[in-house]
């Protein structure tokens, strides 16, 4: 008896839409079967690429589409592929990053559970573009059911000739390994992922060299997010021009937003980039408003590493540029909604505990700084805050920000800095009165 609950999606809307594509078939229970995937046009892009396109043409098409990495950084996918040296004699590797663990993010999991062949097809096209003959999917250890699914559909793909030797008589060989991790958030960062895949502790590497030059086993390696790769077959099938007509000028295409926290309909929603955050939270087709008719207190728009927005700021478009302009980031597209009953110190205590726990320990500012921050924030939350604690937190944040090898340090401090900026009075109240301004008591 298990209670895996089907997460809410807007698959119905996607099925009828000319624009949405990632979620078109995610409510079809037969979609993970290779026959169903093929019936829906699956592996046509892979066939087209192998029979009619050169690797350079594939890279050019993806560049023209404007597709940007969906894991958090938003770097253009085609540009990244172009960094792999053309004259290298070493093997090249493509890795699909399925170490989904940014708090609030639960989108890649839906693709693995419900449209896994789309990921394999996207990986295959990416592999061909960079001259790779062995590709990996690195799945977080806790997603055992996703790993089982990917293993199963990988076998199907081999059996139908989509993977293996001399695919579709093209002379191209491609193999795939499904790899599982050990539950470390840091392994979603690409250089830590590489160490982990090599059987080491998941600690970040200093760049340069960048993975595209010296990645897995010191060979040229590209690491792409699940959603980015799942998008690639659609770009190939329908063309870069079609894809770049979706979304905004600089943030093209669609994006899956994981909506969680105090909304009536938490779920995963595929929308065009540039979609209204307010609409995502309040429209009955999406979040359907704040739970229990409470007022909104704040929103984290791009996963727990991105700065808070206050209610007067949510009239913002969900795209890379607009969110930066609003003082936050699109990140992984995980929208976390907080109602007025949330104590901000309590919420930040939860977050800093996470970053302290997940810091790999390599860089002193992150290793020591997150621990120190957790101590101070926990004591404020417990009613034992001292005068000067807020300033001490700010000073610690400044000393972590920009001073670490990988972005985990920055990720830890950005929500804290914004929480102090927006709700400084509430922090001060907590220290002075030795209690919460509002008590976060949420029943389940």
């Amino acid at each position: 008896m298990t209670f895996y609950s089907p997460v809410i999606t807007n698959a119905k809307e996607a099925a009828e839409s000319e624009k949405l594509h990632l979620f078109k078939y995610v409510e079809d229970p037969d979609q993970p079967k290779v026959e169903t995937y093929e019936m829906h046009g699956g592996y046509q892009a892979w066939k087209k690429v192998l029979s009619t396109m050169s690797p350079a043409e594939v890279i050019e098409e993806v560049k023209k589409s404007g597709l940007r990495g969906r894991g958090g950084a938003g770097f253009p996918t085609g540009v990244k592929w172009g960094f792999v040296p053309k004259d290298s004699t070493k093997p090249h590797y493509l890795i699909c990053n399925a170490d989904e663990s940014e708090p609030g993010t639960c989108k890649d999991r839906v693709l693995m559970e419900r449209d896994p062949h789309g990921i394999i097809e996207g990986m295959a096209i990416g592999a061909y573009a960079i001259g790779c003959h062995l590709m990996f999917i690195y799945i977080r250890g806790e997603f055992g059911h996703c790993a089982e699914m990917m293993e199963k559909v990988k076998e199907e793909a081999y059996a139908r000739g989509h993977l293996g030797k001399n695919i579709y008589d093209s002379g191209y060989d491609l193999d795939m390994i499904v790899h599982t991790g050990g539950g470390a958030y840091i392994c979603g960062e690409e250089t830590s992922l590489l160490n982990s895949l090599e059987g080491e502790r998941g600690m970040s590497r200093i760049r340069p060299p960048f993975p595209a030059i010296a990645g897995l086993y010191a060979c040229p390696t590209i690491v792409n997010n699940v959603e980015s790769l799942a998008t690639v077959p659609h770009v190939i099938n329908r063309g870069a021009e079609w894809y770049s007509s979706l979304g905004t000028e600089k943030s093209t295409g669609t994006k899956i937003f994981s909506l969680s926290g105090h909304v009536n309909r938490p779920g995963n929603y595929e929308v065009e980039l540039g979609f209204s955050l307010k609409k995502l939270i309040y429209d009955p087709a999406y979040g359907n408003g704040i739970r229990g008719d409470r007022k909104l207190k704040g929103v984290i728009p791009g996963g727990s590493s991105t700065p808070f927005l206050t209610p007067d700021m949510i009239d913002v478009k969900l795209d890379y540029e607009s969110l930066v302009e609003a003082g936050s980031m699109l990140g992984s597209g995980a929208v976390i909604v907080f109602n007025e009953d949330t104590c901000i110190v309590w919420a930040i205590k939860k977050l800093i505990h996470f970053y302290r726990h997940e810091s790999c320990g390599k860089c002193t500012p992150c290793r020591e700084g997150t621990g120190w921050l957790e101590k101070i924030i926990s004591r404020i939350e417990a009613g034992q805050g001292r005068p000067g604690d807020i300033e001490k937190i700010e000073e610690l944040c400044e000393n972590i920000m920009g001073h670490t090898v990988c972005p985990l340090g920055d990720a830890a401090v950005m929500p804290i800095q914004s929480a102090i900026k927006h709700w400084r009075d509430e922090w001060q109240y907590h220290i002075d009165q030795k209690k919460c301004l509002v008590k976060s008591e949420f029943a389940f």
Binding site: Y185, R201, F444
Partner: protein, 158 residues
């Protein structure tokens, strides 16, 4: 030998896939964890024999990854996500409810050895919160009624 012949074979199959043998460390640890429910020095030695990587390097990797318990746990390892999205949906009260129902505090194991209760970081179940993972399965959108039914079911299966 701690590892069963099936586990050993599974580790060998994994090892055969990789261009470099050390990449099989995490897959091997996963196989061992699935069989034993936890990891220890003895099993690092056995894995070392199978994949040809020094025991120390296996221990070095294993101790980094918190998903693998390093001490024996109850038959059912209850892992409640206490990260932000689940907390907003009542993870704190879920933990209190489980502590009450099991008669233990978080971090402890019931006297009959059936249940260990711990809190873990985000499990990617944010839109189906609150949730818990018991051994390898997810239990999502939890309510007190669902938790009662799950515990009852597990007790009857034990």
């Amino acid at each position: 030998m701690i590892l069963t012949p099936e586990s050993v074979q599974r580790i060998k199959d994994k090892l055969a896939q990789y261009p470099q043998r050390k990449s099989a460390v995490l897959p091997a640890l996963t196989v061992a964890y699935r069989q034993m429910g936890h990891l220890n020095d003895d099993v690092y030695r056995e894995i070392s024999q199978i994949i040809g990587v020094p025991t120390l390097e296996i221990a070095e990797a294993a101790t980094f990854y918190t998903m693998f318990p390093k001490q024996p746990v109850g038959k059912y390892l209850i892992q409640v996500c206490h990260n932000i999205s689940c907390s907003l949906m009542g993870a704190d009260s879920l933990v209190a409810y489980l502590e009450d129902k099991l008669g233990i505090k978080k971090g402890d194991t019931t006297l009959d050895g059936l249940f260990t209760l711990i809190c873990v970081e985000c499990l990617g179940s944010c839109a189906t919160a609150p949730m818990m993972q018991i051994n390898h399965d997810y239990y999502e959108n939890l309510t007190p009624e669902k938790v009662d039914a799950i515990l009852q079911q597990l007790r009857s299966e034990a």
